[in-house]
Amino acid sequence: MTMTPTAPPQQPPPPEPIPPIKIKGQRSIAWTRRKLALKRFWAVYRRNAMGMAGLIILVIIVVLALIAPLIVDPTDLDPALAQGIPFSPPSTEHFLGTDNFGRDVFAMVIFGARISLLVGLAATLVTMVIGAGVGIYGGYYGGRIDSVLNAFTNWFLVIPWIALAIVLTSLLGPSLFNIIMVIGITSWAGTARLVRAQALSVRERPYVERSNALGASNWHMITRHILPNVFPVIFANTVLTVALSILSETTLALLGLGDPNSISWGTIINESFEAGALSAGYWWWLIPPGIAIVLVTLSFTMCGFALDEVMNPRLRKR
């Protein structure tokens, strides 16, 4: 989805007292430089209210997902072992009521965070690897390869992702791995276009030419010059892609194309819908997973917008 976040008036970073640098060699210089850059970045980022709010929500959700077994009993998730009475509304015993198998909805939502985050992050990784690979390869090498890759990218940009995702998922079968791959395969094109444009422009810079003249290999040029310069451009995009991937997983799950063997927020909503939650009024089963999706997507989106403002104040000319 094309969304260009807004540029705020860029405040200059606060004057940093430069700490005394002990140089112990080439590596040390590079690391000190990186640490300083990170510090400067954090100083700007933490003053972005939206970004900080997103980050805090995100950290809470990730921690909850990690310590899920400590909060709720995993046996509550097994339809055969669940103790509750099916379809019971919220009570002191079941904070968010139970589903059709008598499973605790609260436990399912907490554990659902794991699957939703896993799919979101893994699908984003696939998107980035394909997108950055195609973009850098085309942008750096140019020529005929670039024309072919560019045409390919443009095709994938136009094909509606949902149609392709439905075809692929129903053909391959809805396992978690397939869902991750399908989301990755259907959403890399935007990233590839972004990366290619940046790679094209970095390639023309004088220091890259100098490096080339000194006999640097393609591998050195790509890993040391192109990638580090592409990274700031796609970092915000990556975080936004996680939000989109989680929404995509939800969409597929709502279509009945979720992995039947794992509990994600999308599959919880789908199961409640299939079980007639709308007409029977099982709101406690339907509403919490949706709110969880909104919270996690919102926090990733807010972080992504903030990162874009911090990292690319000039790059919004599109």
């Binding site: 279509l255 709308l278 007409s279």
Partner: protein, 322 residues
């Protein structure tokens, strides 16, 4: 004439994309782990003789090239085969569902665009105002919301608890005619349309806002102010028309996403359009139908992208030079 070359290039590109989609579709159903007949066998019980017969019926025993030519010919003439569940030609199945989806997606696109743009302008022009902050937050929340879930919530509240609108369907049936029929359909249309509108309004508002913020920094805005124009005139005649250009393209580009959203929204509201048909096709693993819908959605999006490019080139001549 730059503009004629631009036109030609865009049309050739669109045709190229279409051919790619068709070829992709062809190979998808042949090279994938299982061939079409096995796929059919997955959703139906077939004997070995049935499989052999199906293979020759589908022409799968012929060489790949020949199959490809036959497939392309069939597609061009609108021959998509027969739906597995209903034994009705796919073209007919799709045709009967076309209008409700056009009505739903069309009205939702119109309202989400119109209100999204208005909100974006109001917020972006007074950046940091209460309206701007709250509308931006609201837009982000709506953007983060899965449409299907939003539809379910609206259904429970407005059709269930409050009972203001019908819970689903296209019309109440019966023999309403003329004006009564129209209001009846609109009454049924309202909730699904509201869902889709809310689902996309945030995106348009955010996009319009950032587009306006960018334009505000341009030199010609400074010039307009220096001429002594009132704030309102600067906005109306200089800022907004230029900020509208990228938003205009986004509306066309988002069509694929709106169509995707309509699948679940139509299912939730039993709206008898293509979306509901898609959902049924997925549940029943009706592959010929899924293929047909995939091709239709893709061609629709390719067509509207082409239209966007052509109109954009017409509105903004700078594009044609690029």
């Amino acid at each position: 004439m730059g503009s004629r070359r631009y036109l030609l290039r865009k049309i050739v590109q669109a045709i190229g994309t279409l051919v790619f989609v068709l070829t992709f579709n062809f190979f998808l159903f042949r090279v994938m782990p299982s061939d079409p007949v096995q796929l059919l066998a997955r959703s139906q019980r077939l004997s070995r003789a049935d499989v052999a017969e199906l293979q020759s019926n589908l022409g799968l025993d012929k060489p790949m090239i020949e199959q490809y030519v036959v497939y392309m010919g069939n597609t061009v003439t609108g021959e998509f085969g027969v739906g597995l569940q209903s034994a009705v030609p796919v073209t007919e199945l799709i045709g009967s569902r076309l209008w409700p989806t056009i009505l739903l997606v069309g009205t939702a696109t119109f309202f989400s665009t119109a209100f999204g743009i208005l909100i974006g302008i109001k917020g972006g022009w007074r950046r940091g105002s209460t309206f701007d902050t709250s509308s931006l937050m609201g837009s982000l929340v709506l953007y983060s919301m899965p449409e299907g879930w939003l539809g379910m919530i609206l259904l429970i509240v407005f059709a269930g608890t409050l009972g203001w609108f019908p819970a689903g369907g296209y019309s109440s049936g019966g023999d309403l005619t003329g004006f009564a029929h129209i209001t009846d359909v609109l009454n049924h249309l309202f909730l699904p349309m509201l869902t889709l509108t809310l689902g996309y309004i945030g995106e348009y508002a955010i996009f319009m806002r950032s587009s306006l913020l960018e334009v505000k920094e341009e030199d010609f805005i400074l010039t307009a102010r220096a001429k002594g124009l009132r704030d309102k005139s600067v906005r109306r005649y200089h800022a907004v028309p230029n900020a509208l250009l990228p938003t205009f393209t986004l509306v066309f580009y988002s069509l694929g996403f709106v169509l995707g959203g309509s699948i679940i929204v139509e299912t939730v509201y039993s709206w008898p359009g293509l979306g509901q048909l898609t959902y049924q096709a997925i549940q029943e693993l009706d592959y010929p139908l899924i293929q047909g819908i995939f091709l239709l959605f893709s061609s629709a999006v390719i067509f509207f992208n082409l239209l966007a490019d052509l109109l954009y080139g017409h509105i903004d001549p700078r594009i044609r030079e690029a």
